[in-house]
Symmetry: D2
Subunit: 358 residues, 4 copies
């Protein structure tokens, strides 16, 4: 197996290649009888879709999912919910020269080795960022179910190319804050920083280059006591899901690597009673202790590497002939995928969190 999440009673199975007939997802184990707003699912997916703002791929992806099963009379049936997205606007010829010349930073060579050359290499095949569309579909479905239970998630761009947005207030994030971030083309807290980030992306694009960044994500409304110790806690499931997003190379909960320079007296979150509820006066641990939620916001950050597809000539190898080669990547590529990664991270965490509540 490769492309399935199995979290307790919930399973999400993703399939497809970038330039094949279609991509899709099967979600097995959803609770039955939950109303889903399909417009809202499309709205979630639109946040991942390429924008016409010069920042993202010029490939026009309709990406309208067709629900094939598991949804009846506007509600989940409890049986597997599946959706298919057709691949239409594919220009495989753009990828002609990458069948054997590995794109540096991509999985062309490793995929070739893994599948003995039998995998579909066009557009990255199964490794394509396009596969995040069905992941976002699944996350949108899970997110709606979470919302009905008072649980909301939201991600934003924390950094692009060294430009930093504000961090979330780890003690208190409102649904309103979350909603306004989600409405923005650049999903940031401080919109001026978003503009600055855009400048950096444009500059990188002009330099035939790309930039990376950090996504910060929060989950609010999760009650204390969700998760499990050791290998099946919030951190384990969230990280397993999030590393399913191409280009993600790191994940940190709470202060993350910042703990390396803290002392215990500073790192430990002091606890107090607030109207009968246990709270912490700092939330360095990102709302998770021993893999289990504390009731405080769950907070984590995710590193997204710069888009590997750049228009500059790159040194590489032709892995079939076994020769050194120089590669110029054609095709349409985002100079920065961080903005599009934002809803994907949200989707991944929605799946992970919902899985504990089924």
């Amino acid at each position: 197996m490769s492309s399935e999440l199995h979290f307790g009673n919930l399973s999400v199975s993703i399939f497809g290649e970038s330039h094949g007939a279609g991509i899709g997802v099967v979600i097995d184990g959803l609770p039955a009888g939950i109303e889903l707003d399909t417009e809202k699912i499309l709205g979630f997916m639109a946040r991942r879709a390429p924008k016409k703002d010069g920042m993202s791929t010029r490939r026009s992806e309709k990406d309208t999912p067709e629900i094939l099963s598991g949804f009846y009379n506007g509600k989940t049936t409890g049986t597997p919910l599946s959706a298919v997205i057709r691949n239409t606007d594919t220009r495989s010829q753009d990828y002609g020269n990458i069948v054997s010349a590995a794109r540096p930073g991509h999985a062309d060579y490793t995929g070739y080795m893994r599948y003995n050359g039998a995998n579909d290499p066009r557009g990255g095949g199964h490794f394509s960022g396009r596969l995040t569309a069905p992941l976002v579909f699944a996350g949108a479905v899970c997110g709606q179910i979470l919302e009905k239970r008072g649980i909301n998630s939201c991600a934003h761009i924390l950094a692009i190319d060294g430009v930093y947005d504000e961090s979330f207030n780890t003690l208190d994030i409102s649904e309103d804050t979350m909603e306004s971030i989600k409405c923005r083309t650049m999903p940031v807290i401080d919109e001026s920083k978003g503009d600055e980030m855009k400048e950096h992306v444009r500059a990188a694009a002009e330099a035939l280059d790309s930039v990376g960044g950090i996504v910060e994500c929060a989950v609010i409304g999760l009650p204390a006591g969700i998760g499990s110790p050791m290998f099946d806690g919030l951190e384990n499931r969230i990280s397993q899901a999030v590393f399913g997003i191409p280009a993600v190379k790191a994940i940190a909960f709470g202060k993350g690597f910042g703990f390396a320079e803290m002392r215990g007296s500073e790192a430990n979150d002091p606890m107090y009673m607030d109207n009968g509820t246990v709270k912490t006066s700092t939330n360095n641990n990102g709302g998770i202790y021993g893999g289990i939620s504390s009731g405080m916001p769950v907070i984590f950050t995710v590193a997204v590497k710069p888009t590997p597809s750049i228009a500059q000539p790159q040194k590489t190898v032709d892995f079939i002939s076994g020769q050194n080669a120089e590669l110029v990547i054609k095709g349409r590529h985002d100079a920065c995928i961080v903005p599009r990664a934002v809803p994907v991270v949200e989707a991944a965490v929605n799946i992970a969190v919902l899985s504990f509540l089924i």
Copy 2:
């Protein structure tokens, strides 16, 4: 489930509480007929054991595992290999006052909420760092099997309290380097940094405080093509395993969060042929693309938070009475668990990597 890793055909199931009768592990799915050197397993476990150097807990843990099954005539049988470690030197009375007063930074409160107060709270119960002993046992077993296939792993302390060791040479790490690191009381590359780190730990201990750090881990000898895309790749399995270690709060592959300030032209690892082998001239991606190994060393770092148990008074709550409280933690605790976390990280990665090869 909570305390099981299920990686393809390999399963590792850990059980036990800090102050119960014993702790242990069942490893199901090992290949049959593999010779295991039990002395070497004990040697691996000794690296995790508390040291008599003033740096770690003064609890004398024998931690000698008894193998109950799956091992016959010096070889794995292929059937479940289990081992039990008795708990002997437990001083539950030291923990008397933490049954209801949550230790900040620990899972006392979240565990209470998760298990409705039924979990064994003594010494942290199932959340105790002591549970890493069976994890190390399993990792030692897996490591020996990997070694027979020419795959070696090694971790070292990259940082404690802001003091940084050298990083691994991500392009070329020798087995000899690995072996010498493993022999050191402070597992570092630059021993002078290890001494400096010790000073910081002692200073923290004297201040009734604790310090955190970073562990860096490398796997060499792993051929290209190991792993899978999306949810079942090297990054997914390694992170799921590593977040099973208490106090780990972040994981980063290759440059990790450093990618946020890099451009694609710098981040992409240029590829070249080296005597018929594909190599990369940088290894920013930590030897993994699309979840699959490239044949270059696999490199990742892990953030370890400061030991939450500190001897200073801390603000907390009594989660049974629902009152604010002040807590002074008694008992024997490491002022820094980073040195002991080193072999545990190695163990976790050994399990994850071996699982792909069965």
Copy 3:
């Protein structure tokens, strides 16, 4: 989860409802680079399709699967192979009165209780026998991979309504025998028995009734040593898969219930060497000891209950109003589904057996 088989590294996930947009399957974990003959897959599926012989449902099912992913240049890619079958000829109005009046012998009531009434009841929804079409697709794919390794499976009708076909020769079954059985409209060994069975089915249909039967299945070419003890052996996986077929109510390996009247001296299969190969002179155990293959043919039988949908009035309940009711089922139904179950049993065993070889 409900509709997924997870066997080691192989996963088969089935989705869809009888009268929804479509049904399908995702197969994750197939080996890469295996040529598949799509005509042959259709041929396998045609064996399950309704026949125009008056014996089976008059619904015209095209059931042509569209492969969406995982198949490129005529070969498996190693990434998830998915296929969708559109539902076209659905007459939901036939099912109007069964939305709340449970069809006896069907899952209408139990499904209603399981899903709190949210499941799609039309045509049995996810419980419909139609869901065996994607199962057969998956089994056809797995079967082709097995054949390339010299492993063949074949099922036949052992009994319908008390009319018994010959049993397989459990010591020696040729591929030729298997091929000729598969070509027959009534898949039996002794065709005269097939004619007799047909008569019984017609008689039952005329009496507005239905009949059940037994399917016997064999797998040849499986080397000794495949499977595992206790919970993950051949018997465990085959039975888990086979009970996924609606109407299957029993499974027996080798002599099955016949063992109840045998003595050990008779039941034990004496062993001998045959040109360097271990064989048994009887095969009462159906080629499986301790969950592991012996190298002799694997043999099992499966009981298929009479089609629950019969045209006679039946006593039932309206599970919404909570009243007793009488029901007359309209729609198109097979008076005997045993012939169509034959390739489905083969498909199920193909998946189970292949899973041990990946």
Copy 4:
């Protein structure tokens, strides 16, 4: 993996060999805070233990499990509950000649092939019936939790060597009936049949032979709506668990193979309202439709083959030298294991049923 049941959130992992240091089980995923009566667990295990009645093995097994974890203050903690049973009275010398001469009907040869000769062959190693002791332990724990929810299970000997006990009344079984069956040395409904069975067993033993039989099992109190369609229903999980019992070769739900000679009008269970509850006036389907419980008793039967170990000379092969051989089995063996299989079947179904309720 081989010896683990993974049912949704519940996992049961069994380890050990017959003549190794010990055997045991880890149960992960139990609800927290459930009181367990350890005396009652021992009572359940005693039903499986060899009797001093000449009917079962003369090996004196104490089989007292030591609970190592997951149990605190008389209650489950919610963390993994583990138990170990020491192997004490082992006479490995009795097995000296079976290391390479395969015992017909046993897994000696298949196990050898599976594990390339590395498995522990003494006393059957991991294939030994002794491994059912930890299975019974787990089933006893699960059974107590089910009882608290009003769900009870009971098995009895339906047949030994052609002597048949009464069948359960499939429409109505009382807890009292269950309790009285469990108290009997020969767990039957009609004790006179039990005496007759004993005679057959003694006769077989005198003839240096063994006999097989059938176990019938019922679960009462299970509400309607438990289970899932296709691959994760009651039949799938129960059969996967039950085939984990050595010597079980068949399982049938409700009428099982009897359906082959029934018509739909007879097989379908008519439904009616009984004081607001849906019931069926027959229960041919064993309380399961589409993998989901109907609220009627769940009923199934299991075929147990005659003990393969018989004292007569048997034709076999020496699988190391590759020669034909004659074998006379020494050691202590039951001439009939059906009575001891009864609580094991109950244990298996308890685990399967509880898994749906967590």
